[in-house]
Amino acid sequence: MKKPIAGGAGSVAGLEVALPHPRATQPQRLTRFLENERALAAILLAPTVLILGTFIAYPFIMGVWLSLSSTSVGNVGEFVGFKNFAKAWNDSIFRTAFGNTFYYTFWATIFKLTLGMWLALLLNRHFRGKRIVRASMLLPFIVPTVLSTFAWRWMFDPTFSVLNWLLYKGGLITTKLPFLSDGVYGMWCAITVNTWRGMPFFAITLLAGLQTINPDLHEAASLDGANGWKRFWHVTWPLLKPVTVVVVVFSVIQTFSDFQLIYVLTGGGPANSTHLLATYAYQVGVATGLLGEGAAISLFMLPVLFVVVWLQLRYLRRMEGA
């Protein structure tokens, strides 16, 4: 490189002439105000706080009030204490829904995690058409759940089920399976569909986690004589655990509060045997119009969600601390 600083004095003489600085912006009140960090923060956060306050915090308080009142559609109720909660607790449909919610969440999460992890490991390899396969695997997650659940419902149709046809042709069954016309089958159908829908979320987030793992670690482990399973257990899994915990938390919250899948697939039936808390709250609160009782039923979700969120926050704090 030449030494430009030494040369060309004539052409740059102008640089040394200090031009009068055009008067910088007039000190206007608003710009002054916005230069204050706290004031600016307050203004930037105002829309968010306003919207979340009006449509989350306020409804939440209102929900608590509703659950303690006998309000129904067109009828401003009065304070009834914990009557709604007690009534729900003694209601056998509620008990079923309550149990179902745990059962559904537990199994669906287990399947989503195992299958999602498996799929992530498969997708973490190099093969032709990987991008398109990865992209198409996410389809169940991005397509409106209600619409894809309809396809499943059609596949589970009592008369025209393609799955029954397949099993029959395959010689596995001789009579149709009562997919949605039996409570136990219905629950498992819902778990299947939920797994189908949620697994890509697990797979893709876990895949992102996998991709941050240094391949040298695997090389080192296999040089140390670890086989595939051992490599997964001792190298991959510990490194993947933080991502997994977060993904599981998200999934648990969504599954626990699921509504649309059951609403479309079984509608809670047959004979109210497949209700979840959310669908039952809808049936009581909206379909029947007993707002107070419905609000109480959905508030039964709160303790569980609270514990999960609390665990999550604690975990995040610990990760930040580390």
């Binding site: 230069e35 619409l147 059609w154 046809w165 509504f259």
Partner: protein, 283 residues
């Protein structure tokens, strides 16, 4: 790479992967094949010898035609699009500002506020739909798109804020400090320097928020009642079933058409969507 034998690759890789691909995509194929199958073929006994469930020899667009002409499906498409775009725009706007404030500015209660926004992010819509319905009624926006445009941000804003906050934190703060010294106000530095740099993050958040609002169901189900005002998911569920009869051809045509817009948006921005997805769960 660890070298494997050929048969092992098949057993441990190709076969499971194929099962995954087929299992994942089959319902979509089933949607498609049902949508183009004539009714006569659709409701044939499953034991019939002539049954060919996996393809059809007389594909028809009749179900699509009925859907577009005899139902308010076009309205639903438009409603869904309108609501998704507007609520995404609102949420991006709020999320950008709030995410920036939380990532960059020092102010009292910053930590508490960040945590509360994270907590609202985890609040499921099904917890609040009953009281929200009341509020919607009080605001007199029930059965209008505004009922959804105002409520969708409740789950979109926390998500956008969270994602964008993470993105802003990866941008060196010297950039805006330099801009401020160069003559920009705090606000100016944010708009002229930080936002343009954050475009990939904004895209991710936007795409993800769009798909979330396109897919939303329970608020739309509870807050809308007039047939022509519904969104696609709600319309398909409530309007295409007349009495107890399921018109499966039409239903699947509706499901297909209702899925295509999101699938298209997704296919153009797969990478951004994936970033949004993985970013959405990052601490």
């Amino acid at each position: 790479m660890v070298i494997e034998r050929k048969w092992k690759t098949w057993v441990y890789f190709y076969i499971p992967l194929t099962v995954f691909v087929v299992g994942t995509l089959f319902p979509f194929y089933w949607m498609l094949i049902t949508a183009i199958r004539p009714d006569a073929e659709l409701y044939r006994s499953w034991r019939a010898a002539t049954n060919t469930p996996f393809w059809t020899l007389q594909p028809t667009l009749e179900h699509f035609r009925d859907l577009m002409a005899k139902t308010t499906f076009p309205h639903w498409l438009w409603n869904t699009l309108f609501i998704a775009v507007v609520s995404t725009a609102i949420s991006l706007f709020c999320g950008l500002l709030a995410g920036y404030a939380l990532a960059r500015l020092r102010f009292p209660m910053a930590g508490t506020l960040g945590t509360s926004i994270f907590v609202t992010y985890l609040v499921p819509p099904t917890l609040l739909f009953i009281p929200l319905a009341n509020i919607i009624r009080t605001f007199q926006v029930g059965d209008t798109p505004w009922a959804l445009i105002l409520t969708y941000p409740t789950f979109l804003i926390p998500f956008c804020t969270w994602l964008l906050m993470g993105y802003f934190k990866t941008i060196p703060k010297e950039l805006e400090e330099c801009a401020r010294i160069d003559g920009a106000t705090r606000f100016g530095a944010m708009v002229r320097i930080i936002f343009p740099i954050a475009v990939p993050g904004i895209l991710s958040a936007g795409i993800f928020a769009f798909t979330l609002s396109w897919n939303e169901f329970i608020y739309a189900l509870v807050f809308l009642s007039s047939p022509e005002k519904k969104t696609v998911p709600v319309g398909v569920v409530s309007e295409l079933i007349r009495g107890d009869i399921y018109f499966w051809g039409q239903l699947m045509a509706g499901a297909l058409l209702g899925s295509i817009p999101v699938a298209l948006v997704y296919s153009f921005f797969v990478e951004y969507y994936v970033t949004g997805l993985t970013g959405s769960v990052k601490g």
